[in-house]
């Protein structure tokens, strides 16, 4: 299976790019079933390559993809997005979900190319690694939900514009009903807040843990990544409070806020990652992986990491 190691990030990047081009063509020309089949085939191929890449990286790092590096963390987020897209593609064939989801997936992959592929932090302890996994997974789900809310918000706004103004250039766009988009939007906002809260709290616990166990690798409370995550969390909490408190909140208002929160997410989460990756920002999550140290394990638990590489990071 040596050829699997040859799978490069550009393989699935290109697959998703081709899918996006087909989706655009489909919208412009109404090419029908053959184009739809092509999109399914190309996206499936990209998804398989994406999965193989993450598995290979995980095996090399000896850590789950979420913990290996910032790059892997972003690629997991993109992988979740492409999995959801593939499901929607097969279940709602006529809908143009790809026009909205694929650019987000491509953006995550492109950003992943420029961020650090080196892990940081110290996850030799099994317990710490589990908390790290929980922390990273919560944040991935939370940020994924914010991105989803943002995409459904954008879909709502375009669909709303089309239905109100009967705009001709959007007429070929087949989108879910406004009622469905409103429901998705609201649930994604509701879902994102507890996920981000859990992610933040577990992150704080990990900071306290790292401070007590390893002073040299301790994380600052003013770390840019932590601060930006707090800002995103605050924005989503405000959005949720508005959503729950106002009885006259229209679907359009929620969609606008969700869309703005997505833009905010782009700036606050991906921005620092890119800056850290280019060395212009000093953040714990972007620092190079430390030298190996002997793992400290409880007697009754085996390490998850492979013998070849036991170092890791606290992803985000």
């Amino acid at each position: 299976m040596a050829f699997l190691a040859q799978v490069h990030i550009y393989c699935f990047l290109l697959s998703y790019l081709v899918s996006l081009c087909c989706e655009i063509l489909q919208m412009l020309r109404r090419t029908g079933t053959p184009a739809r089949l092509l999109i399914v085939c190309v996206t499936s191929a990209g998804f398989v390559a994406h999965t193989v890449f993450l598995v290979t990286r995980s095996q090399e790092a000896g850590l789950p993809p979420l913990l290996a590096s910032q790059q892997d963390w972003l690629l997991v987020l993109a992988w979740l997005g492409s999995l959801l897209y593939l499901i929607l593609l097969l279940t709602h064939r006529q809908m143009a979900h790809g026009l909205f989801m694929l650019p987000a997936i491509l953006l995550l992959i492109v950003v992943a190319i420029f961020v650090s592929d080196q892990g940081s932090g110290n996850l030799q302890q099994v317990a710490m690694r589990r908390w790290g996994m929980f922390h990273a997974a919560s944040l991935v789900l939370g940020i994924g939900a914010v991105a989803g809310a943002s995409i459904s918000g954008l879909m709502y706004l375009l669909h709303h514009h089309r239905l109100r103004s009967r705009s001709s250039w959007l007429n070929n766009l087949t989108l879910p009903s406004l009622e469905n988009l409103t429901v998705w939007n609201r649930w994604l906002v509701v879902f994102s807040v507890p996920c981000l809260t859990i992610g933040l709290l577990t992150g704080f616990l990990l900071i306290l843990w790292s401070r007590s166990s390893d002073v040299s690798r301790s994380i600052s409370w003013t770390d840019p990544t932590i601060l930006t995550t707090i800002v995103v969390w605050l924005a989503m909490v405000i959005l949720l409070v508005r959503l729950l408190s106002s009885s006259h909140q229209t679907g359009k208002a929620v969609a606008q806020l969700s869309f703005l929160s997505g833009g905010f997410l782009l700036i606050t989460v991906l921005g620092p990652m890119l800056l850290a990756g280019s060395g212009n920002l000093d953040t714990f999550h972007g620092r190079p992986r430390p030298e190996r140290t002997a793992p400290v394990e409880p007697a009754d638990e085996k390490p998850v990491a492979s013998p070849s590489d036991t170092s890791g990071e606290v992803s985000r």
Partner: protein
């Protein structure tokens, strides 16, 4: 003998103009017929007024001095108090074969906004019935409209034009309603008006799972009838504002000649609601909703009949093959109809010719019987049969010539020649 049509339809005229020229209620229509009869007592008239078209069919058995396009335009202008300049460029005018073909296309729904929609046949039937009631029909319009209904039935049977989603209501709900709502079983539908279009829309909405139907109509009796058909609830027209605030889907199809729901009225109703999304389908002509009511808030989605145009064009493109089949039937039927009409024009001449020759033969026979009184009954019968055969054989060539000539139009020249040759018309 001539047939004329002046048509103001969705192809050339916007909804604003159609509203101004519409004969929107039975009372207006009856007035129109009585005015027409006063001005043109010898010509026939049928008015077809729907949400997509206002068409005036006039027919006259006189070729010269008959009704003209100018007469129809003047009549429309005076009746609606609209200067001709404001609509002449937006109407179609056909005469003779083109007028007949146009009516057949209308009745077959080839000319409809939603290709193949079934309502138009009933609307044509209704227009013909009202014209008959008003004694505005005559021999030409009778045969024309009866033939149109026959052609419509033939097209429906022999083509796939009416298959699938073809009603205005189904296109409107399918293309706009389903983009707003994902389901209809939890929605309240308010229907304003209780006519055929309301019934058609409710039939489709019912098939989409709508459970709660409220019918508001000026005539409570008609509201009750429609509500009972769909297990809905009829309410007083005075409660309209209350239900405007609560309905998720509003279908308005009244025959009101003025705007029923102004922006202010709708705004006041919305202020009483949670400003939930509302899908309004204004299928009336003139429109029941002020177009400005659509901008009351972001959750109001108001569509009138013209908003369906793009969707209907897509529907049309998908049925091109069936349209071609239908058109070939219409062309053939128009030709047959016109031949019948032209041939009808020769009827009085043929009748007089036959009568004339029979009279001559009868008088000659009487003279013969007087000269030969000994002839018994069988002999007389044999002579009469021989004379009848001679008359028929002599009549055959001119009748065949008339029949041949009548294929392309009324054979006026030949008819005049026969009149002069056989001396039953003074010079």
């Amino acid at each position: 003998m001539n047939v004329l049509v002046v048509s103001c339809n969705h192809h050339k005229a916007g909804v604003q103009l159609r509203e101004r020229l519409a004969f929107s209620s039975a009372e207006i229509l009856n007035n129109a017929y009585s005015q027409w009869r006063r001005i043109h007592p010898e010509s026939e008239l049928v008015v077809l007024s729907t949400c997509n078209r206002v068409e005036i069919y006039a027919a006259d058995e006189r070729s010269a001095d008959g009704v003209s396009f100018d007469d129809i335009t003047r009549f429309i202008s005076q009746f609606h108090n609209v200067p001709p300049d404001e609509f002449v460029d937006s109407v179609l005018a056909h005469s003779g074969t083109a007028a007949v073909e146009h009516l057949f296309e209308v009745a077959c729904s080839i000319d409809s906004m939603v290709l193949g929609e079934p309502q138009i046949v009933n609307q044509v039937k209704e227009a013909y019935r009202v014209a008959q009631e008003n004694e505005a029909c005559g021999p030409l319009t009778n045969v024309l409209f009866q033939h149109a209904l026959k052609v419509s039935a033939q097209v429906r049977t022999e083509t796939g034009l009416a298959d699938g989603r073809v009603s205005i209501a189904s296109v409107a709900v399918g293309d706009f309603g389903k983009n707003i709502f994902s389901r209809f079983d939890n929605k309240t539908v308010l229907v304003i008006g209780a006519g055929e279009m309301a019934e058609e829309t409710l039939t489709y909405l019912r098939s989409e799972g709508v459970r709660r139907i409220i019918v508001a109509n000026r005539s409570r009796e008609r509201a009750d009838r429609l509500a009972s058909l769909f297990h809905g609830e009829a309410v007083d027209f005075s409660q309209l504002d209350y239900w405007l605030a609560r309905a998720d889907v509003i279908v308005s199809t009244t025959g009101a000649s003025q705007t029923l729901i102004t922006k202010d009225r709708f705004e006041a109703a919305r202020a009483q609601s949670q400003r939930h999304p509302v899908f309004i389908l204004d299928l009336a002509a003139p429109r029941d909703f002020d177009p400005a009511a659509g901008s009351v808030d972001d959750n109001v989605f108001l569509y009138d009949i013209d908003a369906l145009e793009e969707t209907c064009n897509r529907n049309r493109r998908a049925r091109e093959a069936e349209v071609e089949k239908a058109k070939s039937i219409i062309v053939a039927q128009t030709r047959t109809f016109m031949q019948e009409i032209y041939h009808r024009a020769t009827g009085p001449v043929i009748h007089r010719l036959r009568e004339h020759w029979t009279d001559i033969s009868r008088s000659e026979l009487d003279r013969l019987y007087r000269k030969l009184p000994t002839l018994d009954q069988p002999q007389r019968e044999a002579i009469e049969a021989t004379i009848q055969r001679i008359v028929n054989k002599l009549l055959h060539p001119p009748l065949e010539a008339l029949k041949d000539e009548a294929r392309e139009g009324t054979p006026e020249g030949l008819l005049n020649a026969i009149r002069r040759l056989f001396l039953f018309q003074s010079k």
